[in-house]
Amino acid sequence: MEIKCFGIAKEITASSSLKIDGAIPGDVKSLKEWLKLKYPAFNNINNCLIAVNQEYAEDTVALYPTDEIAIIPPVSGG
């Protein structure tokens, strides 16, 4: 499973694309929990959303290894 990182998420993970091998989080909520455990700095920033296949995803959305997954920190375009 690959997870794209942008903005401050890219700084926290020191990567633009995380790779998770083995036991992958089964849904969006598990992924958020996994990220906060692995990178505690996520606890100190505003809440990030998760996008699955380029759509914002609720906590209950299931994740599959082939999905395009991204961490979406608070946006600030414009």
Binding site: G7, E55, P73, V75, S76, G77, G78
Partner: protein
């Protein structure tokens, strides 16, 4: 992403008002509204030297297309162009242009306001602000 009604682009080069203006021109439209967001030299009391925009390009284009569709279907505009910069952008440079055309002005003003507000709320683009004494991602921290 370009159709005869929408022109949506994320660009690493300076944005062109002429390109947006020419795209929305329509013989049936008497009201054109263009919003331009530029880089200003201060924010929250600090001096800003420049900005750097990062985009999740594929998703950002999709979200911008949804905004454009709403502007056309719900606000009744005929054409909409949304151009957003990515990469480093200097003071007074254009960070974003939203241009809409409609038969009468009211729909154009309202759709333009809706589009920039929606862009700021949900399009995955991030702004890093460079100050005299450091830099930070805007909105990232409480």
């Amino acid at each position: 992403m370009k159709s005869n009604k929408t022109d949506i682009q994320i660009l690493s080069t300076p944005l062109s008002l002429d390109d947006c203006y020419n795209f929305i021109l329509d013989e049936s439209c008497g009201g054109l509204c263009l919003f331009v967001g530029t880089v200003r030299n201060h924010n929250k009391g600090k001096t800003v030297t420049h900005l750097d925009f990062e985009a999740y390009e594929g998703m950002a284009l999709k979200e911008l297309a949804k905004i454009a569709a709403t502007a056309i279907n719900e606000y009744g505009v005929k054409h909409i162009a949304i151009h957003h910069r990515q990469g480093a952008v200097g003071l007074t440079e254009k960070a974003v242009i939203i241009a809409v055309s409609s038969v009468h002005r009211k729909a154009a003003f309202e759709a333009c306001e809706f589009a920039i507000a929606a862009l700021k709320e949900r399009v995955p683009i991030w702004k890093k602000e460079f100050l005299l004494d450091g830099s930070h991602w805007v909105n990232a921290r409480p």
